[in-house]
C-alpha cells in the first residue's frame, strides 16, 4: 500500500467513525424528545399505516406531485439508488480486485448516471427561484459531496487506480453527513413511521 493509499484509507476509516458516532448522537438526541402517544381507541391499523407509508405512500404514480414532478422524482430515485449501492460498494472495495469485470463496469455505469443526475441537481436548484431563495450553502455542499462520491465511485469501478480518491471522498462525505442536510436519511425513517402510525390508526390512508 502506498502512502497515498494509506492516507486515503485512514480518511475513509476516520470518516466512518465520525459518521457512526454522529448517527448514534442524533438517535439519542431524537429519542430524548417527547413523543405524544396516541390514546384514543383506533379506527384503522397503525401497522398497515406504516406498511402503506413505506410502499404505496411513496409511489410517485399514486401522487399528484409525482405526476407533475416526474423528472425530479426519477432523478431522486436514481441518485439515492446510486448512493446506497455506492455505500455497499465502498464496503466491498478492499476486495475490488476479485470483483468480476462486468459487475464493476455495470456499477460504474450506474454511478456515472448518478453523477450526471447529481450535477443536474445543481441546475434544478439554481434554476427555480424559490429553491434558489431557500437553498443554503449546506444544500450545495451536500449535493457536491454526494456527486463527488458517485463520480469517484464510478472512476474507481472503471479503473482501480482511482480507489484512493474514492476512499478519501467517502471519508469526507461520511464525516460531514451527521452535521448537515445529509442527515435527513435518519429522519426519513422516523417521518414515515410517524406518518403511518398517526394516520393509519385513524383509517385515513385511502
Amino acid at each position: 500500500m502506498s502512502t497515498f493509499e494509506m492516507v486515503a484509507a485512514g480518511l475513509a476509516l476516520a470518516g466512518a467513525v465520525i459518521f457512526a458516532a454522529g448517527v448514534i448522537a442524533i438517535l439519542i438526541a431524537t429519542q430524548r424528545r417527547p413523543y405524544n402517544t396516541e390514546l384514543a381507541p383506533i379506527k384503522g391499523s397503525p401497522a398497515q399505516g406504516v406498511l402503506w407509508a413505506f410502499t404505496l405512500g411513496m409511489a410517485p404514480w399514486a401522487k399528484e406531485s409525482g405526476r407533475i414532478h416526474w423528472i425530479a422524482y426519477i432523478r431522486g430515485v436514481i441518485v439515492h439508488l446510486g448512493i446506497f449501492v455506492g455505500a455497499a460498494y465502498l464496503i466491498a472495495t478492499p476486495w475490488l480486485a476479485q470483483m468480476p469485470e462486468p459487475l464493476r463496469f455495470s456499477l460504474a455505469a450506474l454511478f456515472v448516471v448518478g453523477t450526471l443526475l447529481g450535477l443536474a441537481g445543481f441546475w434544478i436548484r439554481m434554476a427555480d427561484p424559490t429553491m434558489r431563495l431557500l437553498s443554503t450553502p449546506d444544500d450545495y455542499c451536500s449535493l457536491a459531496l454526494v456527486t463527488l462520491f458517485l463520480a469517484s465511485a464510478a472512476m474507481s469501478a472503471y479503473a482501480m487506480k482511482y480507489l484512493p480518491a474514492f476512499w478519501a471522498i467517502s471519508g469526507i462525505t461520511m464525516a460531514y453527513t451527521p452535521f448537515g442536510k445529509l442527515r435527513h436519511f435518519i429522519y426519513f425513517f422516523y417521518d414515515r413511521v410517524f406518518l403511518g402510525l398517526a394516520f393509519g390508526r385513524r383509517n385515513a390512508l385511502k
Partner: protein
C-alpha cells in the same frame, strides 16, 4: 418554549425536508396564487431557520452555512401571519411530499409560539376565552339556553307533525350526548333524525367548537374539551357524538385523550358515523328521489384526511340523494376549501381565503353539482361565499339536512 413544543414527530418533519420543491403545487394557496410565499416548503423553512438557531447546536454555531436565523421583534409578526393566514393546516402537502414532511405540524408549533407571545389573531383568542367562560359558569347560561332549545323543539315538533318529539337537555343515562355548534342548523336536523330513529339521546350544554386548537394553545384547548368530557361523565352517557364540525370531531376523538393522558369512559363518534349506522340498520326510511339534483361532497380536511371519515358520509349521501358526483381529487388528496383552521373567523382574512378557495370553486364547477354537501361548518360557510364570489350558483347543505329532506 420551542424546545418543549418540538416533539419527535415535529423534529422529524423539521429535519427531513431537503427543499426539493416537489410539494409546491400541492397547496391550494399556491394553486390559486402561485408565488414563493405560498409554497409549503417556504413556510416550513421560515420556522426551520428559527429551530436551527435555537435547538440545533450545529446550526447555531454556523448560522450562515445552515441558514439559522434568530427571531426578532420584527420577525415574529411575520411568522405568526404565515402560520395563521397562509396555512390552513390541511396536511395535503404531507401526502404529496416524497418524505411526508408534516408542514401543518410545524405551523401548529409556530401558532403556539405566536399565541404565547401575543401575536395570535385577537378574534380567535376571544372565541376561545368565551368558550372557557361558558364552561366556568354553566348556570349563568342554562336557563336562557333551555329556553332557546324549547323553541327549537317546537320547530322539530312542527316539522315532524308530532308533539312527542323532544330535544332533551341534561338527561342522565342515555346512550348519546350530542354536542352541537352554536346554531339551529346543528340542532334541528339532527334532533329530527334522532327522534325518527327513536334514539336515546340528550343535547349538550356546550358546543363542540374548540378555537384554542387553532391557536395551538393546548392548555386552553383542554379546558374547552373538559366541559364536554365532564358533562358526559356526569350524565353517564355511553358515547359523545360530535355534530358536523370539521375540527370538533378529530379534537374530541383523537387529540383530547392525549391532553388528558387517558382514554375516556365513553366512545367519541361523529354524527356521520351515527347516520351511517342508521342507514345500514334501516332505521330511517329514506327516499333518494327527494334529493334529485346533482349532489357533490366536499371532504373537510379534518374529517377526512385527519379524521378517517371518507366512506361514512358517502354511504349516507348515496342513500339520500339520487345523483351523487365526486369531486376530483377527493378523500386523502382532497383540496382544502381555503378557510380551515380559523381563517373563516377572522374578517381581515376574507380576501385571502376567497382567493385560496379558487381551486375548490373550480372543482365544484367541474362536477356540475347544484348542491354541495359538507360536514364542517367552516367549509360550509366558505363554500357558500365561494359560490357568491365565483358565481357557482349552488346550494350548500349539511349532510343531516340532506338526510332530513330525504325522509319518507
Amino acid at each position: 418554549m420551542l424546545d418543549k413544543l418540538v416533539d419527535r414527530r415535529v423534529l422529524a418533519s423539521l429535519e427531513v425536508c431537503v427543499r426539493c420543491g416537489i410539494c409546491t403545487e400541492s397547496c391550494h394557496y399556491y394553486r390559486s396564487n402561485p408565488k414563493t410565499e405560498h409554497t409549503p416548503y417556504y413556510r416550513a423553512e421560515q420556522v426551520r431557520r428559527v429551530y436551527r438557531q435555537f435547538l440545533d447546536p450545529v446550526g447555531r454555531t454556523f448560522p450562515g452555512w445552515f441558514g439559522a436565523k434568530a427571531t426578532t421583534d420584527e420577525a415574529l409578526p411575520k411568522l405568526a401571519e404565515i402560520a395563521f393566514a397562509s396555512c390552513t393546516l390541511c396536511h395535503r402537502c404531507t401526502f404529496e411530499c416524497p418524505f411526508g414532511v408534516e408542514t401543518a405540524e410545524i405551523m401548529r408549533v409556530m401558532r403556539s409560539v405566536a399565541t404565547a407571545t401575543g401575536h395570535a389573531p385577537e378574534m380567535l383568542v376571544e372565541l376561545a376565552n368565551a368558550a372557557i367562560a361558558r364552561g366556568e359558569n354553566p348556570d349563568f347560561f342554562r336557563d336562557f339556553y333551555i329556553e332557546q332549545v324549547k323553541e327549537l323543539e317546537r320547530e322539530v315538533q312542527d316539522r315532524l307533525g308530532s308533539s312527542k318529539a323532544q330535544i332533551p337537555v341534561g338527561q342522565e343515562g342515555v346512550r348519546i350526548l350530542y354536542v352541537p355548534l352554536s346554531g339551529a342548523h346543528t340542532i334541528v336536523p339532527q334532533a329530527i333524525l334522532f327522534n325518527v330513529a327513536r334514539e336515546s339521546w340528550t343535547l349538550s350544554m356546550f358546543e363542540v367548537a374548540n378555537y384554542a386548537v387553532f391557536l395551538g394553545d393546548t392548555d386552553k384547548a383542554k379546558r374547552i374539551a373538559k366541559r364536554i368530557t365532564k358533562e358526559a361523565e356526569l350524565l353517564k352517557v355511553k358515547e359523545v357524538v360530535c355534530t358536523e364540525c370539521g375540527h370538533g370531531y378529530p379534537t374530541m376523538r383523537w387529540e383530547a385523550p392525549k391532553w388528558f393522558g387517558h382514554t375516556f369512559p365513553f366512545r367519541v363518534r361523529s354524527i356521520l358515523e351515527v347516520l351511517d349506522e342508521y342507514v345500514r340498520d334501516g332505521v330511517l326510511h329514506l327516499s333518494p328521489a327527494k334529493n334529485g339534483q346533482p349532489v357533490t361532497y366536499h371532504d373537510a380536511c379534518n374529517l377526512g384526511r385527519k379524521g378517517g371519515l371518507y366512506e361514512e358520509p358517502r354511504r349516507v349521501i348515496r342513500a339520500v340523494a339520487s345523483d351523487f358526483r365526486e369531486m376530483t381529487p377527493n378523500r386523502l388528496h382532497s383540496f382544502c376549501c381555503g378557510a380551515g383552521s380559523g381563517l373563516v373567523a377572522v374578517p381581515e382574512w376574507t380576501d385571502i381565503r376567497l382567493q385560496a378557495g379558487k381551486i375548490k370553486a373550480d372543482q365544484i364547477r367541474r362536477t356540475g353539482a347544484k348542491v354541495v354537501t359538507t360536514s364542517c361548518d367552516n367549509c360550509r360557510y366558505q363554500i357558500g361565499e365561494l359560490s357568491e364570489h365565483y358565481g357557482l350558483n349552488i346550494e350548500v347543505s349539511g349532510l343531516s339536512e340532506l338526510a332530513v329532506k330525504a325522509l319518507s
